[in-house]
């Protein structure tokens, strides 16, 4: 039987070591390359990610790049369509973004921008094999998120300056905010068994002002707000603010907003 080899990635990390696909992706590819195109197209119809026949997005990127030298349009088109569906799924939903805020303004644009950049990268990869798409074979959804971030970075940074948030260096949080804060374990909320609830939590976090959301992320990473030890990387240092009070104010405002969006502790409940 003819041996079909899965090509290695050529992208290298900053330390010079090559990127490698995840183990499960390599295993899946090793068997996928022996399937006929018809069989692969059948596999693409499997939408349940827990099915053993489900084709991982990283594999679809490999397969479509491998069509570089042929002209079987139907096969290419189906791979392309499925890849675009995966791309869309990896991007945040538009309706989950802040009304009138920067992410809503840029939501649809960003989705289109990521899609168009990916298309151009794929065209370039077909014309002259490169390594720009290698990231998408390592971690597809992560690479899509990174592409989205870089594609909209400038627009968002400009809009972010308009964010009006209560984070004066020395001011205490308003009584209303303080009352609303209560306690909220965002980590646990994101682990809820109820997918709809998790979606609501994610939506509430995405709609936070950037400065507040960043504090929440660093807290979720267990980074300390402040420390007397200069070697410890603290949230205050990363944000470049003078007072830890600023960090706490942002945290409290963020939690109050998330609680309100989730209907926790609202007087109108």
């Amino acid at each position: 039987m003819q041996t079909r080899k899965v090509e290695r990635l050529t992208k290298r990390k900053r330390d010079g070591t090559p990127y490698a696909r995840r183990g499960e992706v390599e295993v899946a590819l090793t068997s996928l390359v022996y399937l006929s195109r018809e069989e692969i197209l059948e596999r693409l119809k499997v939408r349940d990610p827990t099915s053993p026949n489900h084709v991982q997005s990283e594999c679809i990127v490999y397969l479509i790049r491998a069509t570089r030298n042929d002209n079987e349009e139907r096969y290419f088109n189906e791979l392309y369509r499925e890849l675009m569906r995966r791309l869309a799924s990896a991007l945040p939903r538009i309706e989950g973004e802040r009304a009138g805020g920067p992410e809503n303004v840029d939501g649809a644009d960003a989705r289109d921008r990521v899609r168009d950049i990916f298309r151009v990268r794929l065209m370039e990869d077909r014309a002259a094999p490169g390594s720009a798409l290698d990231y998408f074979e390592v971690m597809f959804s992560g690479a899509v998120a990174a592409l989205r971030k870089t594609s909209m970075g400038r627009a968002l940074r400009q809009m972010a300056r308009r964010d009006a948030i209560d984070d004066e260096e020395s001011g205490d949080p308003s009584i209303a905010v303080e009352k609303a804060v209560g306690s909220l374990d965002v980590q646990q909320e994101l682990l809820s068994d109820d997918p709809n609830y998790r979606f609501k939590v994610a939506k509430a976090i995405r709609t936070l002002p950037d400065k507040q959301r960043r504090v929440i992320e660093m807290l979720l990473q267990d980074m300390p707000i402040d420390s007397i030890d200069d070697d410890v990387l603290t949230i205050r240092k990363v944000l470049g603010v003078k007072s830890e009070k600023t960090v706490r104010n942002r945290r409290d405002a963020a939690i109050a907003t998330v609680r309100a969006q989730l209907g926790i502790g609202s007087r109108n409940d």
């Binding site: 990390k13 900053r14 990127y19 995840r22 939408r47 990610p49 088109n77 392309y80 369509r81 675009m84 569906r85 869309a88 799924s89 990896a90 945040p92 939903r93 989705r111 289109d112 899609r115 168009d116 298309r119 065209m123 014309a127 002259a128 990231y135 390592v138 971690m139 959804s141 992560g142 690479a143 998120a145 990174a146 592409l147 989205r148 971030k149 870089t150 970075g153 994101l190 682990l191 997918p195 709809n196 998790r198 979606f199 939590v201 994610a202 976090i205 995405r206 950037d210 959301r213 960043r214 929440i216 992320e217 660093m218 979720l220 990473q221 267990d222 980074m223 990387l233 990363v238 944000l239």
Partner: protein
């Protein structure tokens, strides 16, 4: 190169995004190495967290959005293939180009019109195209594929910036090219109507 920092930033964010773990250790390592990207790294870290939390929630995909991209891909592919076609002028030395223009009895600016793909290939008589291809030691098909690409600056005029200006306007007819290059009328007529 104004694009370089942006390119570097993308490489760093991509590298972070495809890390096997996105725990405190990973985030802190990137924050210490790239403090200038702190906001982007934290935003991305949160986005990856939210992606993981909602990965199992499927939503219907806008198929029109998918089809539009596929159509864009196919619409752009032929033009791109032409733009990527091998440059038959690349392997020809300048003294050979002088010999070629003499044998074709045209000024060097006419050759430049082909080299920069300014001329509309559909307006070039087949005989002239064949002579030019022969002089460039390539085939008519290869030369045609190259000429089908968009106008470009000739290598000697290329800019180092990432924003090199493109050739002005669209393509010109072979006849217009000959006129612009002040080819004498008799010779022009011969080139345009080789059987006369």
């Amino acid at each position: 190169m104004t694009d370089q920092p942006h390119h570097d930033a993308e490489e760093i964010l991509m590298a972070f995004a495809v890390e096997p773990e996105h725990d405190r250790g990973t985030l802190e390592r990137y924050l210490r190495l790239h403090p200038e990207l702190a906001e982007d790294l934290i935003d991305l870290s949160m986005e990856l967290r939210l992606q993981r939390a909602t990965a199992d929630i499927s939503a219907p995909v806008d198929e029109a959005w998918v089809e539009a991209s596929l159509a864009d891909f196919h619409a752009a592919a032929p033009a791109r293939a032409a733009a990527q076609a091998a440059d038959p002028f690349a392997a020809v030395a300048s003294d050979e180009l002088v010999t070629l223009r003499r044998s074709l009895n045209v000024p060097s600016s006419v050759i430049q019109g082909f080299r920069s793909r300014t001329v509309d290939i559909a307006t070039v008589p087949a005989g002239f195209l064949a002579d030019l291809a022969r002089g460039l030691r390539t085939g008519v098909d290869e030369l045609s594929a190259f000429l089908a690409g968009p106008p470009r600056l000739t290598p000697s005029l290329s800019y180092k910036s990432g924003h090199a200006p493109s050739a002005d306007g669209g393509k010109v007819t072979f006849e217009a090219l000959l006129e612009q290059c002040r080819v004498p009328e008799d010779r022009r007529r011969q080139l345009l109507n080789p059987r006369d």
